[in-house]
Each structure stands twice: as structure tokens, then as C-alpha cells.
Amino acid sequence: MNPTLAVILALAVGTYAFRLVGPVLHGRVTVPPRVQELASAGAVVLLVALLATGALTEAGGFAGWARPAGVLAGAALAWRRAPFALVVLGAATTTALLRLAGMG
């Protein structure tokens, strides 16, 4: 088989298997409420870790100041309960403007 095709198929099968863990276990085994609670908390922990590493790092190093500054602007808007659109556009615009001004 074409090695690139093999990479795609192996990634697809493995990823789908990960994604099936929850739906397949659900209803087949009785998940104790404590485990359900930890799964929900775990999802939030993962998302916060993703946003923290995504905001601050790039390829194992610091991502530069423009990106975290934009995310911080978005977070401030979210804290003030601004509409979702404003949070996202505010973050991207802040970063874009800082880059335009020469910040990394």
C-alpha cells in the first residue's frame, strides 16, 4: 500500500477508536456517578490545558507576546460577559494589530 495512504488510514482507525470509547461504554456498563463526574471535570481540565498551552506555546517554546496578549483580551471580554462573537473577534484583532505593529 502507498505509505501515505497507510498513515492516513492508521490515524483514522486509531482516532475513531479513541472517539468510540465513551459511546461504546455508555449504556453497556453502569458508569458510577463519581466516574461520570470525573469525566466531566476531566474534559474541562483538558480544555483549560489546551487553551493554556495553545495561548502560550508553539512547537515546545514560547509563542511570542502577540498571541497571549490577544487571548488575554478575549478572556477579559469573556469575564465581562461580552457576547461570544466579541470575545473571539477581540482576541484575533488584538493579536493581528500587535503583529502589524511589529510584536512577535
Binding site: 505509505p3 501515505t4 498513515v7 492516513i8 488510514l9 492508521a10 490515524l11 483514522a12 486509531g14 482516532t15 475513531y16 479513541f18 472517539r19 465513551g22 459511546p23 461504546v24 461520570q36 469525566a39 471535570a41 476531566g42 474534559a43 474541562v44 481540565v45 483538558l46 480544555l47 483549560v48 490545558a49 489546551l50 487553551l51 493554556a52 498551552t53 495553545g54 495561548a55 502560550l56 506555546t57 515546545g60 517554546g61 502577540a66 498571541r67 497571549p68 496578549a69 490577544g70 487571548v71 478575549g74 478572556a75 469573556a78 460577559r81 461580552a82 457576547p83 461570544f84 462573537a85 470575545v87 473571539v88 477581540g90 482576541a91 484575533a92 493579536t95 493581528a96 494589530l97 503583529r99
Partner: protein, 235 residues
């Protein structure tokens, strides 16, 4: 997030879900275009990014797998890197299992739509019915937009230029902030776990392969005490 927190039902509720999803779709579409363009510009044929996006459907894993392939890292390294990044989807699928329900078609189709953004969007909703609608609206839309974007990017090549110029790399963490902030505000136990987890992930980032830091963050759950075990903390 005001519109997401408001409990609405029926068509008005769906409209607000579509409105809030559409920005995530727009940003993802542009990232998809850049994925297609980067892959083709690196020398891969058009079908590679297009097929990968349809059957793998995980942005960060796709970028890293193509990056390893283009850097000459070999097929095994490309698969290992991508799968490592995607192990987190197993935890996400557990978190949304209740939302996907027990129907065969819903579970097997819905599983493929489990992504960071869609899970965050669904969990941010106040009640189970709205969580279900949010998952499907956000998930199906994201799948359509992502794959259309990748195809367009692969065909157009690198006409868009460097997408960092648009600040899109800040948009994604900001999307996640907006979605998790209401949960973090409401739940002190989850907040403690998340802060510890993020600190662990950041500390580990320079030292371990991509995908591992986020998994290490799950150690933050050690701070998640059984409510009955801490009667003094209850209030």
C-alpha cells in the same frame, strides 16, 4: 457567552446556537484552508489533505502528521504523533457519551464529530436537550466547513499567505476561554483541578512530545475530592 447561558428553546434557541457556532466555523474554515495549502505547498498530492480531513478529522493531529511526513520523519512517527495528540478524544467522548445517547446511528456518527471545540460548546449549555442540539449543530457544521476549507486550500495553494497575520492562532484559545469560563466560575473544585492541570501542562511542554502535556494535565483531577469526604468544605 450571554447568549449561550440564556435558556432558550425551539427555533430561537437553534438560531443562537448557530450564531455562536458560526464564528468557530469561520475560524476553523480558514485554518482548514491553511492546512490544505500547507500540505500541497509541501509537495503532497491534493487527495492527501482532503482524505485525511474526512477520515481523521482532527486539526492538530492532521497538522502534526503532515508536518512529520514533510520533514521526512517517516510513516510510523507520523502516525504515533497524530495518535498521541488524539488520545484526549477518548476522555472527551466519555464526557459527551450521555449527550450522544444510546441510538446506534447517533453514537457511531456522533463519535466521529467529537472535537475540542464541539465538546466545549456542548458542555457549556445549561440543560441536556440544549447540549444535544448544540453538539449536533456545532459538530455537523464544523465537519462541513473544515472539509470544505481543506479542499479549497488544497486546490488554491498558498494564495492566502501566512494566516498568523489574521491573529487566528489567538482566536482558538479565546474560543475555549469563552466556553469554559462559566463552568470555572460556577465550580470551585473543577477550577482547582484545571489550574493545577494547566500549570503541569505548561511546565512539561518544553520537555515532552506534543500531545503529552495535555494528558499530564489530567493529574489535576487529584484535587477533585469526593464531596462527601469533605463535609467541612460543603456550603
Amino acid at each position: 457567552m450571554r447568549s449561550v447561558q440564556r435558556t432558550t428553546t425551539g427555533a430561537a434557541g437553534d438560531r443562537s446556537l448557530v450564531r455562536d457556532s458560526s464564528l468557530v466555523w469561520l475560524a476553523s474554515g480558514v485554518v482548514g484552508v491553511s492546512f490544505g495549502a500547507v500540505s500541497v505547498a509541501g509537495g503532497l498530492p491534493v487527495w492527501v489533505p482532503v482524505l485525511m480531513s474526512l477520515v481523521v478529522y482532527a486539526g492538530s493531529a492532521q497538522f502534526s502528521a503532515v508536518g512529520v511526513l514533510l520533514a521526512g520523519g517517516g510513516p510510523a512517527a507520523a502516525v504515533a504523533t497524530g495518535l498521541l495528540l488524539n488520545t484526549r478524544t477518548a476522555a472527551f467522548s466519555l464526557a459527551v457519551a450521555e449527550i450522544l445517547g444510546t441510538g446506534r446511528a447517533g453514537r457511531f456518527l456522533g463519535a466521529h464529530l467529537v472535537t475540542d471545540e464541539t465538546v466545549a460548546f456542548a458542555l457549556a449549555q445549561p440543560d441536556p436537550a440544549r447540549q444535544r442540539r448544540a453538539f449536533w449543530i456545532s459538530g455537523l457544521g464544523l465537519f462541513a466547513v473544515w472539509n470544505t476549507g481543506v479542499l479549497a486550500g488544497a486546490l488554491a495553494g498558498s494564495a492566502l499567505g501566512d494566516t498568523a497575520r489574521y491573529g487566528l492562532d489567538a482566536a482558538f484559545p479565546a474560543v475555549l476561554v469563552a466556553l469554559v469560563l462559566p463552568i470555572l466560575r460556577a465550580d470551585a473544585a473543577v477550577r482547582r483541578c484545571a489550574l493545577l492541570g494547566a500549570a503541569l501542562a505548561l511546565a512539561a511542554t518544553p520537555a515532552v512530545p506534543a500531545g503529552v502535556p495535555v494528558l499530564l494535565a489530567l493529574a489535576g483531577l487529584l484535587l477533585h475530592r469526593r464531596p462527601a469526604a469533605a463535609p467541612g468544605a460543603a456550603a
